[in-house]
């Protein structure tokens, strides 16, 4: 029977494929001497394409340094806020360095490194238009779909007494779309992590400003596959070493130092284990 043979072959291939991808990620990385890191493409200055069409940014430099310290070759994989977690789950990437806040819900699906970046969410608005979030209560606010900022802004609006925050929040698929909506006046504000907002505001100096207090703390962690403690240790140790020998601050100042357009003072320090 030809059909029978085809089915048997298909089943065999499926099983071989499942066997090939099992096993701890760390061993595979060390065996192949190659680590696949997921990095964003449109998060300025986290990771983005510059004028020359080259990939660059803070996350980009941290990933490069991480691979160097683990002694393996780096393969960069483009991710966005939709694919960064799915890719880890599906074993397409080993680490995701992509503006990702460590949350309990996310921790159910993947693991996280120690916090490697301290951020918080704010609202960006046209300069001088609003003093605080309170003033924007009955205006529209943009955010990105599937991010923590969407939930935070809805909660913040609810706390201010807005009955139906869903109607006040417009969720787009990309950061650039949020910024465009803000620019053309469709929304009064755009909320996400302050560093991202600064990155965009710097494109048009003097036109936009951050409004109000931080809406939330956003401890960024590197996304890691579930239950691979060897890899988690290696990443955590590499991060701590970077902090201890000053490499981390060098990279930080390159992107967020006082002379940069995205100036943001360092307020915290990476968790160091003795």
């Amino acid at each position: 029977m030809r059909i029978g043979r085809i089915i048997a072959l298909a089943l065999a291939i499926t099983m071989v494929a499942s066997a090939a991808f099992a096993g701890p990620v760390y061993d595979r990385i060390m065996q192949e001497k190659k680590i696949r890191i997921g990095i964003m493409t449109d998060s300025i200055p986290g990771a983005f394409f510059d004028e020359k069409g080259e990939w660059t940014g803070f996350d980009y430099d941290i990933s490069t340094e991480l691979a160097k310290r683990m002694g393996v070759e780096l393969e960069r994989v483009k991710v966005n806020n939709k694919t960064r977690i799915a890719f880890i789950q599906q074993n397409r990437i080993d680490v995701s360095v992509a503006n990702m806040t460590h949350t309990r819900e996310r921790d159910k699906s993947i693991d996280f490194s120690i916090t490697y970046f301290f951020d918080g969410q704010k609202v960006l608005a046209k300069k001088g238009a609003f003093a605080s979030l309170e003033d924007m209560k009955d205006k529209k606010i943009a955010t990105m779909q599937g991010t923590t900022s969407e939930i935070n802004i809805k909660n913040a609006l609810k706390a201010l007494g807005v009955a139906n925050p869903d109607a006040n929040v417009i969720s787009f698929q990309k950061e650039s779309e949020c910024f465009q909506a803000l620019e053309m006046g469709r929304v009064a504000g755009w909320t996400t992590d302050a560093t991202i907002l600064l990155g965009y505001a710097a494109k048009k100096p003097g036109e936009f400003e951050l409004v109000g207090d931080f809406l939330s703390d956003e401890p960024y962690g590197m996304g890691l596959p579930q239950d691979d403690s060897a890899l988690r240790d290696a990443v955590n140790f590499a991060l701590q070493d970077m902090w201890l020998d000053g490499t981390y601050m060098a990279i930080y100042n390159k992107w967020y130092g006082p002379e940069t357009p995205y100036a943001m003072p360092m307020t915290d320090q990476i968790e160091i284990w003795p």
């Binding site: 991808f21 069409g53 939709k82 977690i85 599906q90 599937g146 939930i151 650039s176 779309e177 006046g185």
Partner: protein, 596 residues
């Protein structure tokens, strides 16, 4: 021996049932997914966020229903107007209609949507923009953009329907003294609509599926909600299944209603006895009754008065003068509206030319190569050498076209087969894929392949597979209609002269059918090329993604970048569609342009 048994219906049913049972058994119990299914996320309240995600998806369905209804209405009205305009004697109107139709048919809906949402409000004066923003701007942008997009396709269907009306009927009605409006109302439109209900029905379905793009401008429709559920819980498989089931049910309902309308309008054969027809009749009953009770007497009275007036040969001089002025007034009105239309056209052209002259051409020149090639120096292990933009869109489209052709041909043949073992799986495949929006199929491939086969592909391949599966279903339907157009006598003759099934297909049916299929297949290829814009959702750096990335980096040149992107889609699609038209004319020379 095998053939003898396979011809029996119960054997076919048994084989199908066994196959289904085996599949359920294998994927239900034997296969290890390495994925924890949590179907409860669809009906329980999520602890972290305190929302019921299933309920949210249902709310999304309601938004989808609303957008579908509004855009379908816009599409139908505007499509009829455009279809009539394309047959008008007034040349500027005809050319404008042609331009509008060609623009929407050859530009991806996603690009149109971005244009409507991000570029158009900037061109409006401040007060008008404030007013527009104070309405439900997202919802209306999506509904109007999808509706206008649909109208271009409907216009072509309606035009074909109008042109299918025999010229004799028109001549007879004109010579019996009916005015153009009367002919239009009582002869042309009723006859044409009866003719075009089936193709119009598939446009309604496409329209419903196209509304799934509304999420790109922040409308919380069903696709958006399914995505949201995925983003919040990372259970993409379950969320996509829920959305998929609802889209399928929705398209089944639309097909059901359209079937009913079709059999209600049909004048030959058994009308009004099928279930859909009875349903539509029941739906129409209150309106019919109301019209009989209220409007009919009024109409009868008006008609009687008109007849009386016409019968009385006596015309007072004041009345004659009055009628003459009225006629002159009407002519003047028509002339004035033509002039106004021309003025409006001139104003539009002036704005466009002024806008284009104001472009930052240096940016266009600099970014052009990015949009075409997007060579990306740091790319490691990319099978496409860092190609992106137009080139990658093109590659994906070619891969999808080549692969879908084989699948589509086989599935189409299976769909025509009398053997249920082939027919029912083919039917299921076609209906399931065609009942879902492309974006849902993209998610399916994206979530299903890793779960089902525990492996993964480059997102470019993932996107190509999704496009292939999607296109193949449509191609299969084209193949089916091509084969069914061949007179059955030919199959009988081939069988009688001793040719086997495959010989008949290869030597007699397919060569003829394929020739007939060429124009719709070219049309489908245009659709695929445009649809590649949707794979940007997976982060594939094709033309739309690159345009977004470049726009994102420059920020101040949106208009230039999006116009360029639209042009890059438009030009190849336009030439392909012109080619398809030429082919169609060559293959069916009897179709000549009929004046209305």
């Amino acid at each position: 021996m095998i053939r003898f048994w396979l011809e029996k219906n119960w054997v076919q049913n048994a084989v199908l049932f066994t196959l289904a049972a085996l599949m359920v058994y294998y994927w239900g119990w034997v296969f290890d997914f390495g994925y924890k299914f949590e179907w409860s996320m669809l009906y329980t309240v999520n602890e972290t966020y305190q929302i019921n995600l299933g309920y949210e998806i249902l709310r999304g369905l309601w938004v989808t229903v609303k957008i579908t209804a509004v855009s379908a209405a816009i599409g139908l009205v505007l499509g009829t107007a455009l279809g009539l305009s394309r047959l008008s004697d007034f040349k500027p109107l005809r050319y404008t209609a042609t331009c509008i139709i060609e623009f929407f048919r050859n530009t991806p809906l996603l690009v149109v949507l971005f244009f409507f949402y991000f570029a158009l409000p900037r061109a409006l004066p401040d007060t008008l923009r404030e007013w527009v923003f104070s309405m439900q701007f997202e919802f209306w942008t999506a509904a109007v953009a999808v509706g206008m997009y649909t109208s271009a396709f409907m216009a072509e269907v309606i035009r074909a329907g109008l042109q299918s009306i025999p010229k004799g009927i028109l001549e007879a009605s004109y010579s019996s003294g009916l005015s153009y409006v009367q002919v239009l109302r009582t002869i042309i439109l009723p006859l044409a609509f009866r003719e075009i209900i089936p193709p119009l029905g598939s446009e309604f379905l496409n329209n419903m599926k196209n509304t799934s793009l509304a999420m790109f401008v922040g409308v919380a429709d069903m696709t958006w909600q399914a995505q949201q559920a995925e983003a919040l819980t990372f259970k993409g498989f379950e969320a996509t299944t829920a959305a998929s089931v609802m889209y399928l049910s929705f398209s089944l309902i639309i097909s059901f209603v359209l079937n009913g309308v079709n059999s209600r309008l049909r004048t030959v054969g058994n009308t009004g006895t099928s279930v859909p027809a009875l349903f539509v009749n029941a739906l129409c009953w209150p309106f019919g009754t109301a019209s009989r009770l209220l409007l009919n007497p009024v109409g009868r009275f008006l008609r009687a008065r008109k007849r009386r007036q016409a019968a009385s040969t006596y015309l007072s001089s004041t009345r004659a003068a009055w009628l003459a002025t009225l006629r002159r007034g009407r002519q003047a009105l028509i002339l004035a509206s033509k002039a106004a239309f021309l003025a409006f056209l001139a104003a539009c052209l002036y704005t466009v030319v002024k806008g284009v002259l104001g472009f930052d051409w240096a940016v266009v020149a600099r970014e052009f190569s990015n949009l075409i090639l997007w060579q990306f120096p740091n790319e490691v292990a990319d099978p496409f050498l860092g190609l992106g933009g137009f080139a990658l869109s093109f590659i994906i489209a070619v891969v999808a076209i080549a692969a879908s052709f084989v699948i589509g041909l086989l599935v189409g043949l299976g769909r025509c087969s009398t053997n249920r073992i082939f027919r029912i799986p083919s039917l299921l495949y076609i209906e399931i894929i065609r009942g879902n929006p492309l974006i849902i199929v993209i998610y399916w491939v994206y979530f299903l392949i890793p779960v089902l086969f525990n492996t993964f592909f480059n997102t470019v391949w993932s996107a190509s597979i999704a496009l292939t599966l999607f296109t193949a279903a449509y191609l299969a339907e084209i193949v089916r209609s091509g084969i069914q157009n061949i007179p059955p006598g030919q199959v009988e003759a081939a069988t009688a002269s001793g040719l086997s099934y495959w010989q008949t297909m290869r030597k007699i049916i397919l060569p003829q059918a394929l020739k007939q299929m060429i124009p719709p297949i070219v049309g489908l290829f245009i659709a695929i090329f445009k649809d590649t814009s949707l794979v940007s959702i997976l982060g594939v750096m094709e033309l739309t993604s690159v345009a977004k990335a470049v726009d994102n980096r420059l920020m101040v040149n949106s208009m230039e970048i999006w116009t360029l992107a639209a042009l890059l889609y438009f030009v190849p699609c336009f030439f392909m569609s012109k080619y398809a038209d030429a082919l169609e004319r060559r293959l069916s020379p009897e179709k000549v342009n009929l004046k209305m």
